[in-house]
C-alpha cells in the first residue's frame, strides 16, 4: 500500500500536536523554540502533501516562504535569547518572572 495524502496529513497532525505539547510543557526557551519549528515543519508537510494531491503549486511556494520566514525568525529569536542569557545567566522560562499580574 503506497501512502496517500491522508497518511501525510495524519503524520503532519501528529507532529503538530507534538510541537504544541512541547511548547506547553518544556521549560527551556531553546527547546520551546525547537518545538515551534517542529510545528512549522509539520505545516510544511501538510502544504506539500496537499499541493501534490491537488496538483497545483501554491502550497509548495508557500513552503518556501515559511522556510525563509522561519530562518529570519530564528535569527531574531536566538539573538533575543542571547541578550536574555547575558543578563540572567539562564534560559529557563521559569526565570522569565519579573512581569506578573
Amino acid at each position: 500500500m503506497s501512502p496517500t495524502v491522508y497518511h501525510y496529513l495524519t503524520l503532519s497532525a501528529i507532529l503538530f500536536s507534538m510541537g504544541t505539547i512541547g511548547v506547553l510543557t518544556r521549560r527551556n526557551a531553546i527547546v520551546i523554540f525547537m518545538c515551534i519549528e517542529l510545528m512549522l515543519n509539520a505545516v510544511n508537510l501538510s502544504f506539500i502533501a496537499l499541493s501534490r494531491h491537488l496538483g497545483n503549486l501554491d502550497g509548495q511556494i508557500f513552503v518556501f516562504f515559511v522556510m525563509a520566514v522561519a530562518a529570519a525568525e530564528a535569527a531574531v529569536g536566538l539573538a533575543l535569547m542571547i541578550t536574555f542569557f547575558r543578563n540572567r545567566e539562564s534560559i529557563e522560562v521559569d526565570d522569565i518572572n519579573l512581569l506578573k499580574w
Binding site: L50, F62, F65, G77, T83, V93
Partner: protein, 493 residues
C-alpha cells in the same frame, strides 16, 4: 531568457505596493544613514523617518477612490495577491498616524533611557510596511508575509533595551508566543488551502459559496478555528491575551503605544478581509465564536485593569478591553459595524498614543515611577499634561464629546442594528466598569497631595507635538465625526 523575464514580470504592478515600497526604501536608506552617523546622534534619523511617513501618506492617498467617482483608483498587482483599495488605504493612513506619533515621542525618550540607537526608526518603518501588506494582502501568502515582517520587527523593538531585564523579558515572551501563534495561523491556512485548492481570499469565498458541502467539512471548520487563533492572538483578544500585559509593560513606552495601535489595527484588517470575504459562508459559525470571545475579552480586560497599579500595565489591559469593543463590530458584520471598526481603530490610535505620550514624558529613567502613586498631584504641578491626560482618559472611557464616544457609538449601533442587543448592552456595561479605573487615575492626579514637584518632567517638543496632534484628533473625531465616518463607509467592501 526573454521569455523568463516576461513570465517573471507578468501581472506585476508596483502601484499596488507603492506605499510600502516607499517606506521600505526609506527604511533601508536610513539604516545606512545610521551607520554613517556619529554615535548617539539619532535626531536626524527621526526627522527623516517622519519625512518618509509623510511621503508615504501622499503616495497612499493617490489610490483613494472618492464617493461617486466612476473609475476606481484602486490598484491590483502580483497576480491578484495585493489589492490597494479604499479599505487598505484607510488602514494605511491609520498605521502612518500611529507610526508618526510614535516617532515624535521617541527621540528624547531614547536619549533619556540612554539607548540612542538609530536602528529604532527604520524598524518602526519596516513594521509599518508589514502592517500595510497585511491590510492590502488578498492572498493568505501576502497576509502571512506581512504579519511576519511586522512581528519580527516588533520582537526586536520590544526587546530593544538590551541591558534592561524587563525589556529582555518582554522581547523573549513576545517572540515565543508570537511564533507559537504563527504556527496555528499557518496550520489553519494549510487546511483551508487543502479544502479549496487556493490561497486567494476572494477565490476561497467563491469556492466555498459554490460548494456548500465544503462548509460542513471538518477540515474547513478546523482551518477557520486555527486561523482565528492566529489573528485573535495578534489583536490580543481573551483567552489569547496572556502575553499583552507583560510585553506592554516591559517594552519601551513608545513601542508599547505603537503596538497597541498599529499592529493591532493591521491584525484587524487582515482578520476582516479573510473572514468577511474569504469565509463569508461560515459567518454563522465565526459570529457565534466571536460573540463569546468579544464578551470574554471585554470582561477580562476591564475587570483585571481595576487591580493594576502600574499605568502601563493598566493601559495594556484597557487595550485588551478595547479590542473586545472592536470585536463587537465584527460580530455585527454590517455596514455600520464594519466601518465602525475602521473608525474605532483611528480614534483609538489618537487617544491611546496620546495617553502613552504623557507616560513617556512623566517617566524617570527606568520608568519605575509610572504607578498610580507616582501620579499623585500631577495635574496641579503639570497643568497642561494633566488636562491632556484627562482628555485622553475621558476619551478612553467613551465620554462625549471625544472620539471614544463616537467610536463606541458606531460599534454599538451596528450591533443593535444587526440584532445583537444583548451584546451592545454588555458592551455599555463594560464601559461603565472601565470608568472606575480611568477615573481613579484622574482622582490621583487632582485629589491627592503631590509628593514631588515633578521637576524632572521636561516638555520635549516632539512629545508635546504628538500630544497636541492627538488632542486635535480626539476632538475632531468626537465633535465632527461625519466626514471620517463617510470615508470609513466607502472603505468597507
Amino acid at each position: 531568457m526573454e521569455n523568463l523575464a516576461q513570465i517573471a514580470m507578468q501581472d506585476v504592478n508596483f502601484g499596488a505596493i507603492m506605499p510600502s515600497l516607499v517606506l521600505v526604501c526609506f527604511g533601508m536608506a536610513l539604516l545606512l544613514v545610521t551607520v554613517f552617523s556619529p554615535r548617539g546622534k539619532t535626531t536626524h534619523v527621526a526627522y527623516l523617518s517622519i519625512l518618509a511617513l509623510v511621503v508615504t501618506g501622499i503616495v497612499s492617498l493617490a489610490t483613494w477612490t472618492p464617493a461617486g467617482s466612476l473609475v476606481g483608483n484602486w490598484q491590483e498587482g502580483f497576480g491578484g495577491s495585493v489589492r490597494l483599495d479604499n479599505f487598505a488605504t484607510f488602514f494605511n493612513i491609520v498605521f502612518l498616524i500611529a507610526a508618526g506619533l510614535t516617532i515624535l515621542m521617541s527621540d528624547d525618550y531614547l536619549k533619556r533611557e540612554e539607548y540612542p540607537i538609530g536602528e529604532y526608526y527604520p524598524l518602526i518603518l519596516f513594521t509599518t510596511a508589514g502592517a500595510m501588506w497585511m491590510a492590502s494582502g488578498t492572498d493568505l501568502m501576502t497576509i502571512f508575509l506581512g504579519l511576519e515582517v511586522l512581528s519580527i520587527s516588533l520582537y526586536v523593538l520590544a526587546g530593544f533595551f538590551r541591558r534592561q531585564e524587563r525589556s529582555n523579558e518582554a522581547g523573549l515572551k513576545y517572540f515565543l508566543l508570537g511564533a507559537f501563534s504563527t504556527g496555528f495561523l499557518l496550520y489553519g491556512i494549510a487546511l483551508i488551502y487543502g479544502v479549496t485548492g487556493t490561497t486567494k481570499v476572494a477565490l476561497i469565498g467563491e469556492i466555498l459559496a459554490n460548494n456548500p458541502s465544503l462548509l460542513t467539512n471538518t477540515m474547513t471548520l478546523a482551518g477557520m478555528g486555527l486561523m482565528s487563533i492566529g489573528f485573535l492572538f495578534k489583536i490580543a483578544a481573551a483567552p489569547f491575551h496572556m502575553w499583552t500585559p507583560d510585553v506592554y509593560q516591559g517594552a519601551p513606552t513608545p513601542i508599547t503605544a505603537f503596538m497597541s495601535a498599529g499592529p493591532k489595527a493591521a491584525a484587524f484588517a487582515a482578520f476582516l478581509r479573510v473572514f468577511v470575504i474569504g469565509l463569508a459562508g461560515l459567518q454563522d459559525q465565526w459570529t457565534s465564536l466571536l460573540w463569546i470571545l468579544a464578551v470574554l475579552t471585554m470582561i477580562v480586560g476591564n475587570v483585571v485593569a481595576i487591580y493594576q497599579t502600574n499605568l502601563k500595565r493598566m493601559l495594556a489591559y484597557s487595550s485588551i478591553a478595547h479590542a473586545g469593543y472592536a470585536l463587537v463590530g465584527m460580530v455585527a458584520a454590517n455596514a455600520i459595524g464594519l466601518s465602525g471598526i475602521l473608525f474605532y481603530m483611528l480614534a483609538y490610535t489618537f487617544m491611546n498614543l496620546g495617553a502613552f505620550a504623557i507616560l513617556v514624558l512623566a517617566g524617570k529613567k527606568g520608568e519605575d515611577n509610572l504607578t498610580l502613586d507616582g501620579f499623585a498631584g500631577f495635574g496641579f504641578k503639570r497643568p497642561f499634561l494633566g488636562v491632556a491626560m484627562s482628555i485622553f482618559l475621558l476619551s478612553l472611557m467613551g465620554i462625549p464629546p471625544t472620539a471614544g464616544f463616537t467610536a463606541k457609538f458606531y460599534i454599538f449601533a451596528g450591533a443593535v442594528e444587526a440584532g445583537y442587543i444583548w451584546l451592545a448592552i454588555i458592551g455599555v456595561l463594560n464601559s461603565a466598569v472601565s470608568l472606575y479605573y480611568y477615573l481613579r487615575v484622574m482622582v490621583y492626579m487632582y485629589f491627592r497631595d503631590p509628593a514631588e514637584d515633578y521637576g524632572w518632567v521636561k516638555m520635549h517638543a516632539g512629545a508635546v507635538l504628538s500630544i497636541v496632534v492627538a488632542i486635535i484628533g480626539v476632538f475632531y473625531l468626537g465633535i465632527i465625526p461625519g466626514a471620517v465616518m463617510e470615508f470609513a463607509k466607502l472603505a468597507i467592501f
